[in-house]
Amino acid sequence: MMSKLRRREAMWFYLFASPWIIGFVVFLLGPMIASIYISLTDWDSFTAPEWVGLENYKRLLTDDPVFWKALWNTFYYAAISVPLGLVIGLWLANLLNKQVRVRKVFRTLIYLPTLVPLVATAMIFKMVLAPSGPLNDVLGVVGIPGPSWLLEAMWVKPALILLSVWGAGAATVLLLAAMKGIPRELYEAAEVDGASPIRQFWSITVPQLTPIIFFNLIMGLIGAFQVFSQVYILTKPVGGPDNASQMMVPLLFNEAFSFYHMGYASAISWLLFAVILVFTLMAFRTARRWVFYETEVK
């Protein structure tokens, strides 16, 4: 039996936690259950839903070339943009970690693009990537005829990757902070042993940072699978030429809010969840490794 005091404490807990509990039920649990049901129906949100069982999933996986294309494009985008951003971030962080004069100025300039909201970034790149925009001007000077980036099926994905790499400053600042935490003694020892700067980078800096790099890789991939605004704003009609830039969330958005295929769109959202879940589980599976690594070093 709980004492009176403990019962009062429990009551206060549930009172204080009630915003989250109510929000969880109303905005998450309820909608999740509804989403499962909706995904098993054919529903335009105006007339009564019609039960179709697993038909939506079957059609998506076996009879919808656009879905497979969107899935492939999303993988392609995530698999290149995220590692590329981290590699550039690591490279720049290593440069900034040196005894550089006016380091703060360089750090600010590299970080500045990440403060620009995504919509503004998309507007900027719409102009930068225009067929006669500054990027192609520069390429022209070097003698390369630039493509019409966003208008060509072959170049629209690289264009979106370029946009994401513009934000490599986020990874730079993060990795730079982590580099500051590496014990100096490790480098002193390596210096005494005659290791070259490049060797010091690969044998000390990189191994010491792998946990944080790995964590950010997984988180970055999860974020990249949910890319939406850039695709929606930059490629018209949504999905780009020949659906070359159609991705999971823009496809879902189109099905739901342009065509009112609520059932079909809900099925897409669950398949997206499945993909993200695989990566989240990977992060949790390996979590012990990076946490252990951190504590061992410090």
Binding site: R6, A10, F13, F16, A17, P19, W20, G23, F24, F27, G30, P31, M32, S35, I38, N94, L95, K98, Q99, V100, R101, L112, P113, L115, V116, P117, V119, A120, I124, M127, S132, P134, A170, V173, L174, A178, E185, L186, Y187, A189, A190, V192, A195, S196, P197, Q200, I204, F215, I222, F228, S229, Y232, I233, L252, A256, F257, L272, F273, I276, E294
Partner: protein, 311 residues
């Protein structure tokens, strides 16, 4: 690695750097990997310049005349300086003042909601004892894995049934129910505070709400400010939410409004790119200001740059 360390720097010396050791070190040659070469400077200058080109280009477009826009003859470095573009957007040309006002209302509503609710819930999870609490906390963590797209459609239906479509409510109200990430942040923060503080307050006869209101809330300031900054940045730049819920131009926040201007211009007529870029600058400047004023708190919280809990 551990063995290398111990042979070179004995632990007792490592833990107390001391002034002599610092002086000794500064006399030393800079360690290889930290040595900046001309190549380092060249690379940093080139990279910074390349990353800043789009920003300079935006300013150049924002200051261009309408003729330049129609002829599509922009230059990267500004050549003309039509500062009146910045006042034009607030006149009859564009409803920019409405966009800005809507952004401010939605963002402030969301910030107030998250700060009020996350503090309470996080404190409860950190300090109060109740049956079922641990199970609930596991659910809090688990919900972080669920992508927003799963609940997007049912939530839309819910808000449509409530008659909230084309109002700010779907973008503000859910924030008053906190979210898993913020609850987690507050809980971790409170866990690090000594529990003697609330025990003493309890002895003094303060109730749980009194403890939260008078003792905890002032101490939670850093984490609540961080949550405020996160919420503000996310809401200010949010595009998809307003795109789903808001139809009237007069109700759009800046992030949606800027895009809306470019999408509604006639097929043969170029969008007013100079004014669009003024809008993009207005969208960006507050974020730079917030970062500049808030970075102190973000670094204090050790959660900047999305590395929550890693460092």
């Amino acid at each position: 690695m551990a063995t290398v360390m111990s042979t070179v720097a004995p632990p007792e010396q490592k833990h107390e750097p001391g002034p002599e050791r610092e002086r000794e070190r500064s006399k030393d040659r800079v360690i290889g990997v930290f040595r900046a070469t001309p190549f380092t400077y060249a690379t940093l200058i080139i990279v910074s310049a390349v990353l800043c080109v789009p920003l300079v280009f935006v300013v150049s477009i924002a200051l261009a005349s309408d003729q330049t826009v129609n002829a599509n003859t922009f230059t990267i470095i500004p050549r003309e300086f039509h500062w009146d573009n910045f006042t034009r957007v607030f006149g009859t040309d564009l409803p920019m003042h409405r966009f800005l006002m809507n952004s401010v209302i939605i963002s402030l509503g969301a910030v107030v909601g998250q700060v009020l609710s996350s503090g309470l819930v996080g404190y409860a999870f950190a300090r109060l004892r109740a049956p079922g609490k641990n199970a609930l906390f596991i659910i809090v963590i688990a919900t972080m894995m669920i992508p927003a797209q799963i609940t997007m459609i049912p939530q839309f239906i819910l808000f449509k049934e409530l008659g909230w479509v084309n109002t700010f409510l779907p973008l503000i109200v859910p924030n008053f129910f906190s979210n898993a990430f913020n609850v987690f942040l507050v809980r971790q923060f409170v866990s690090r505070l000594p529990s003697e503080i609330d025990e003493a307050a309890m002895v003094d006869g303060l109730g749980f709400f009194g403890i939260y209101r008078r003792i905890m809330l002032p101490m939670l300031a850093p984490v609540l400010i961080a949550i405020g900054i996160f919420t503000l940045t996310a809401t200010w730049g949010d595009f998809m939410g307003p795109l789903i819920y808001l139809n009237d131009e007069s109700k759009m926040p800046l992030a949606l409004g800027v895009q809306y201007i470019t999408s509604t211009s006639q097929a043969l007529q170029a969008p007013p790119w100079n004014l669009v870029m003024v809008g993009s600058i207005l969208l960006t400047l507050p974020m730079i200001l917030v970062y500049y004023l808030g970075q102190r708190y973000l670094y204090e919280m050790d959660i900047s740059g999305g590395s929550a809990g890693v460092k």
